[in-house]
Subunit: 109 residues, 2 copies
């Protein structure tokens, strides 16, 4: 069924479950950035930061091109679409108050 270990949705949700990586995506939404510039504000070594970039790349959220000795990263939000659609299915539960809190309130008037 859905037991494929490396499913795209798995990789996207995993990628965005880390604050460092979410921060990178936010900064990339302002446009392409050199990897070193992206890494600067994060308190970790460059190899550690590069691993985060690799996770984002493998989720398809970041594309990196090399020009000269500099690697430029850019956002590719397309894989977020499926993630957003997966979440959208549950919107009715938090909007229409059909979740467990509402159930509780209905059953305990």
């Amino acid at each position: 069924m859905n037991a494929v270990p490396g499913a795209p949705l798995d990789r996207v949700f995993h990628a965005i479950s880390d604050p460092t990586r979410r921060s990178v995506l936010a900064r990339l939404s302002g446009g392409e950035q050199a990897l070193g510039v992206l890494a600067a504000p994060h308190d970790m070594s460059l190899p550690a930061f590069s691993k985060h970039i690799r996770v984002l790349e493998q989720a398809g959220l970041v594309h990196t091109v090399k020009r000269g000795r500099t690697h430029y990263c850019s956002l590719n939000a397309e894989p977020m679409k499926a993630a957003s659609e997966w979440l959208a299915y549950y919107r009715k539960f938090w909007e229409s108050r059909l979740d467990s809190l509402d159930t509780f309130l209905k059953e305990n008037p």
Copy 2:
């Protein structure tokens, strides 16, 4: 922007990055379920399955109550709202074609 330290969002995105856990949420969207019933279709031991439930509980996505010897799980979609809103920020990039593919196409006519 992302001023709040990401902990809750971290836990929600991590929780839904696993296909077993997404499957559980989907089935809970049909209403409360006994843990044992929920576990049945998954090819793993009950302790392993219970750990998945605990991850969902810690993300605030599932609430469990014990009635007699049975533990009943229900969906609480509310924490998904923030997750959905985080993703919504990027909607313009996949809808308005402002992502890296589009940039590439614009720069390489």
